[in-house]
Structure formats: structure tokens, C-alpha cells
Symmetry: C2
Subunit: 155 residues, 2 copies
């Protein structure tokens, strides 16, 4: 399996990578969350934003699909939808094919709010990323894509 004495180079590099991810990702997350909330009145929480993004891309999604894609429990997704429906950003209807299922779509206002939140968050991040060189940004972009393949099934 592994060398008997000491760590192989492979282990050292994978451990360092894991350590950096564990240190940095939560810190970046805070920046994203704070900026999302700051953007009033279209302020969305990160889970709300992600849920809306999924429904945006996959219209007529069911609640189970949202929960699975976002890796949250069904009641969590249900609560998130409650808030978005109450704000008029998401339409929730009963499926005619299978009356157990919800059919979720963004309202027109939901689309507006989502686009606005997305643009705002991206612009804020982009501003920070300006301090990197173009090649460094490309490296970050590629790294994000690699991590995306690891943690997200599709997208």
C-alpha cells in the first residue's frame, strides 16, 4: 500500500492540498456569503442562491431533485423553498403526472433577483481576483473546475 517508513511525496502533496482546501474554502465562503447578504433588497442567502440557480438551469425541478443536487436533506430544501415561495421568487405547484411531486420554477421576479445577485457576487469576486495575474487566474479557474468535478456530479 504505502511506504513503511515516512510519507511518500505523493502523500505529502495530497495532505498539503487537503490542508489548504480546509483552511481557505471556508474563508472564501465567508466573503461570498457576506457579499450576497449585503446586496439588499435582492439579498439572498447562499443556499437560496444555489437552489434558485439549479431551478433556473433545470426548470420544473422537483423538490427531491433540488435536495439531491444541493446535497441537503429534504426538509432543508423544503424550508428553503418556503422562504422563496413566500417572497414570490419561486412558483411551487403540484405535478399533474404525480401529485406527490412539486414542480418548481422561478417567477419573473425570481429570475430578475437571481440574475442581479449573481452579477453582483461575481463582480465583487472579480474585483478581488484582479490582484492576480492572468496566468494565475487561469490556474485558479482550472483548479475550481477540477474541484467541481470532484464534488459535483454534473454541471
Amino acid at each position: 500500500m504505502q511506504p513503511l517508513a515516512g510519507q511518500s511525496n505523493n502523500n505529502a502533496d495530497v495532505d498539503e492540498c487537503a490542508r489548504e482546501v480546509l483552511l481557505v474554502v471556508p474563508a472564501v465562503m465567508r466573503v461570498i456569503r457576506a457579499e450576497m447578504r449585503r446586496h439588499r433588497p435582492a439579498g439572498l442567502s447562499v443556499p437560496q442562491f444555489r437552489a434558485m440557480g439549479f431551478i433556473y438551469r433545470q426548470t420544473h425541478a422537483s423538490l427531491s431533485e433540488v435536495a439531491e443536487r444541493l446535497s441537503v436533506a429534504l426538509p432543508t430544501a423544503s424550508r428553503t423553498m418556503d422562504g422563496l415561495v413566500k417572497r414570490g421568487l419561486v412558483d411551487r405547484e403540484v405535478s399533474q403526472n404525480d401529485r406527490r411531486c412539486s414542480v418548481l420554477t422561478l417567477s419573473n421576479e425570481g429570475i430578475t433577483v437571481y440574475d442581479s445577485a449573481k452579477r453582483h457576487a461575481e463582480e465583487h469576486l472579480a474585483k478581488s481576483l484582479q490582484s492576480l495575474s492572468a496566468s494565475e487566474r487561469e490556474e485558479v479557474t482550472r483548479s475550481m473546475q477540477m474541484l467541481r468535478h470532484i464534488v459535483m456530479e454534473t454541471d
Copy 2:
């Protein structure tokens, strides 16, 4: 400032980078959070883990220092400490120099729990990162370090 017509290559790359960060970081965050919570009974929330890590590295930290480093409001940090003190993982005392200030240290059990949580989370991440090549992991590590410099003052 910028080209009048269309986006420069620079803008395109910074926008793509921001888009990827906004999509991927929350997804990675979910993996980290879920794994942290799964690790019972030493289960820590991510904010608890980060707060303990800071106190670990900077022993005798004050509450204000914790709040600033973690980029949370003072009442948020205070609440987080309440929970950790109640669990016996953090010792909170009044500073003798300035009786307004708290002096925060990890208890022996706190150190044990923190180390265990850290090892567990890193091992879980490392397992996922095994699917990348060594050079890809190096790229991810460098990218994390770049993002770290952008979002964290020091560390």
C-alpha cells in the same frame, strides 16, 4: 480604463474565474461541513473549528481578535464561544491587564478534539483529491494559497 467595445481577454478570464469560484466554493464547503458534522462525538461546526484553530495558533486570544480574524460580528463570536466553553473545549477567563477583555485558550480536551476533527476532515478531503494527478494537486494547492492571500490577511 477598459476597451470601449466588447470585453478584453483580461475581463473574460477574470469573469470566468469569478463564476467558477462562486459555483464551486459553496459546493466544496458543503462537503467539508457534512464531514465535520459526521465526525461524532468530536463533531464540530465549521465556525467552531475555525475559531478553535485560531485560538490554537494564537493562544490567549481575545474575543475581538477571534471575531476579526474569522470575519464575524462580535456577538457571533461570543455565541460560538458560549457553546465551546459549555462543552469544555475552550477556557474563557477575564484578562488581568484589561478586565474588559477575554482570554481564550483551548482546554486539553479542546486540543484533542480539534486535532481529531482536523485530521479527520483532512483525510476525507485527501481521499477525494487522490483522483487528481500530482501536478493537478499542486495546481490546486497553489490556487488555494493565492485565494488565501486574497481573503485572509495573514496565516
